[in-house]
Symmetry: C2
Subunit: 119 residues, 2 copies
DNA sequence: CAGTATCCCAGGAGATACTG
DNA sequence: CAGTATCTCCTGGGATACTG
């Protein structure tokens, strides 16, 4: 597996590259929410209460730059912005779904381990 | 999706939990290598030249603690240690494979984008 | 409403040295 | 051979304030 350079950064395997694009705390949660319909900025913010404006904005901008989502700005008062998945974003959903299901399985496993009978 | 507490740490979604267990720079590369057979410590080290002893050892210990791999120590001279996947580790391979294939796809996409014709 | 700008901190990861 | 112990560094992310 040869190394890979993108955007001036060096990656040693495909997983590392994939997670550089859709990893981090908020990108998959955002993509996952956009699965079915467009979302407005404040909707995302309310749905992701742990994300500060800074992190939400940063994550959205990177997903935009990398072509996973697109954004439509409507010149209304008050302003309205809608985010939606691009084709590339839609292609990421199956991967997120796999990780999500696996996470749920691990959660139930680790849950029963920690709740194991005391003897 | 309710929050989840494990090992005194708070997680907000299943993906976050899954990546807390098999994420980071070296865990998936290690699990992936153990897919077919047992590996010795120095084999892993040579195969992962970017991982320092500290990081390799730390990653292996966490994977051991979390039940993804097991270790057999042979009382020989020189000492021999063999790491192998547990059932839980084997179950992670399909997820890693998904992420890996997706990473390869993204790599080829971003590669052709950066090599796009100049007009 | 939909963001950006600053400042700050913790922890993941690197480098190096040492050991049963 | 198979690790652990220290020390340091960097960057992902948090908190807060401000704006078209």
């Amino acid at each position: 597996m040869p190394d890979f350079i993108n955007d001036n950064h060096l990656f040693h395997n495909p997983v590392e590259f994939a997670l550089s694009k859709i990893g981090g705390t908020y990108k998959m949660p955002i993509l996952w929410r956009l699965k079915e319909r467009t979302w407005r900025y404040n909707e995302l913010r309310k749905s992701l209460p742990h994300a500060s404006d800074r992190m939400l904005s940063k994550s959205l901008n990177e997903l935009l730059t990398d072509g996973f989502i697109s954004k439509a700005v409507f010149a209304e008062v008050p302003p309205r912005t809608e985010y939606r998945l691009t084709i590339r974003g839609r292609e990421s959903i199956i991967v997120i779904d796999t990780l999500r299901s696996y996470g749920l399985k691990l959660m139930s496993e680790f849950d029963s381990e920690s709740n194991a009978p005391l003897r």
